[in-house]
Every structure is written in structure tokens, then in C-alpha cells.
Symmetry: C2
Amino acid sequence: MRISVLGSGGVGRTVAAGLAKAGHDVVLGSRDVTRDELVRWADAADVRLAGPAEAAGGAELVVNATPGEASEQALADAGAGELDGVVLMDVANPLDFSGGFPPSLFVANTDSLAERLQRAFPNLRVVKALNTVNAGVMVDPGQLAEASALFVAGEDAEAKATVVEVLASLGWDRNQIVDLGGVAAARGAEAYLLLWLALMGALGTPQFNVRIVRG
Amino acid sequence: MRISVLGSGGVGRTVAAGLAKAGHDVVLGSRDVTRDELVRWADAADVRLAGPAEAAGGAELVVNATPGEASEQALADAGAGELDGVVLMDVANPLDFSGGFPPSLFVANTDSLAERLQRAFPNLRVVKALNTVNAGVMVDPGQLAEASALFVAGEDAEAKATVVEVLASLGWDRNQIVDLGGVAAARGAEAYLLLWLALMGALGTPQFNVRIVRG
């Protein structure tokens, strides 16, 4: 699949490299595509670099892997026209580090980052996914001892099915992917980050996830 | 152990009956101890009834199983003096149904119900626990297919150890109980409710929990 990843930080690079390794045609969108260190990383990862709008043009799926507070601007840079009808897999979290560590969320409870992005870009087909695990786990779920759970939320069933295909290509077990419903259910997936952060501290590692246990 | 349960609704009754069945000496505190239907329930469950202050007096552990918005008043009714030094296992959630279903939280993200109760009653030893599962699962974790995770958060290590003993007496696996740290970590355990609610909708049942999967 032709996938554009927005965000050239640790999460964006890890996701872009993982998707390329899974066989996708990946372009990383960045405003600074000539930076030596980024160019060397892209060569090694088999990922192309392009400006935000060029990266988004022609993509079947766009991954928002920018910091939450930069996400709306990153999508605006990509261009609303380029994003018309595109599936956005939103892996970002609305982390607010202004009060130190652990961060709080800058939108929570009665709204979410995914809903904000969906409202700002009504023609984008936003699907919240992957934000509940560390970047390393996102692209390599097999590093955990058991198959574990992922959550998708969004208004468009076809877009969610596309995202599930991409997740499966990364090694996620389709039977462990829970469709939480519409984009408002992203409130749950994002608020979980507050528990995830406490768990990371308690477990001493970000390499973990949860598995659903039923009756 | 001599345990007082505050809250005569579904959660309070289920927890009180479960603790009595586990062999504890349980008093349910209620402002309405002569109500026929409640008296019949208490007889069948082997639980004594008492007014809030009488129930709290002499208790080694008090369980807050009142609705979140009523919790501070329920503890005030029990009497700050009676609660001095007592361990409070806070199983309540700050659910706000004013906007319909699913509820949001009336305190979240940068504060929590557990922290509010700890601030309002500084001599109480608050431990957040059990709020992440349905009442039926709280007292019968064996109804789930695998051992699953619980979270405790609070300032007092000895109080947390007491709570872990009580949880073990209900059948919880000590190895699955994660100490998240101080009472501020209750923000994570409470915010998780937003994900829990979405999962309940998606799975079609409240009889589930999560299990931690590590690398």
C-alpha cells in the first residue's frame, strides 16, 4: 500500500521503517527533507522523504505520527485538498508535558485529539489506532509474550477495515483488534494513556500491552 | 477482617456479600438500615447493617462503594473521627451521567476522585482499587478465563498491603496486582473507565478485564 507517514521524530521513523519492512511503499513527510541525518536514516530504512503536501499526494493511507500538539498544523501543511477522502491512521496522543512528567492530556474526557482532527478535516477518514502502545510494539507486536489487544475507533467502516489490514501486515492478530465504534470512542483509547504511563513506571519498561480476558 | 462497606446500591451489596462469603466480618453502612428489602438482602448475605458512623467505627478497612458524586458526603456521614487512620479501599468511579450514556468523568486527567477524598480526609489512608472491573468480577475474578490485572494506588505502603490481602481473599492473583504508586496514579485507573465503557459496548458484556502482556 502507498502510505505516507507524517512526523519525523522517533514514533514517525519507527512506524515508517516498520511499514516499509512489511512491504509497503512508504513516504515520510517532513518540512526538512534535506537534513543529512534524516536522509541517511531514510536510505537505511528504505523510506522515501518528501515535503508534507508531496508526501500526502496519492497516499492511500496517511499516518499521523506527529506530537499531538503539532498534529493539526501537520495536516494543514499536508493540505486539506491532498487529504480529501484519505484514511488517516491517527497514532498520536494529546500529551501535555507543560507540568513535567508524567504528562497530562491537553484534550480528554469529553473530547479527543482524533475528534478534533476529524472536525478540522471533515473529508479525512480518521481512524484512531496504535496510540495505546510504544512505537517499538506498534510495528513488532511479536516482541510481546502473547498476542495483545489493539483498539480502532472511527466513523468510516471501510477506513477501519483498511487500517485493520495495515495492522495485520505489521503482525497484529486480527482477533485481538477491537472496534470500539465511532471516533468519539477515541476518548477511551487516549485517556488510557494515563494508565499506560503509570504502568510504564510500575513495570519499568514501555514494552508491554494489555490483552482482553473475557468470562 | 472487620470491614465496613459504604454504599447500599448494586456495587456495595455485591462487594459486601463477596467479602462476607470470603470470611470477613462485614457491616454495610447505610442511612436507611430499616428498609425491608435491604434487611432481607443483608440476612441472606450474612452482612450486618448499621448507620454510616456506627459501621465505620472499629472497622480495619472501609470500602467506598458509593456513587462517585456521593462519596465525599458518605465519608462525611461516617465521620472524620471514626475514619482516622483507617484504610479506605476506594472502588468508586467519578461517573457523570448528566450528558447521557456513555458517561464522562466529573474529575479526570489532572486530578481524581481518590485524590479528592484523600485531600478531604487527610487521616484516611486511601487506596484506589477494583474500580477497573464490574462488581461481579470484583468479588469473583475466577469467572474470567484467565487471571487478570488489578491496579492499586495510594500513599501508604502498609495500607496498600492490607488491600492486597483483601483482594487475595476474594481470589485475585497477587502476581497480577500492579502497584501504580501514589494516589495521583488513580488518575490512570479512573481514566481507564472511558476505555472500559467503550469496551463494554464493543464486547457486549461488562464481564471482562485486561491482563498485562510483557516482552
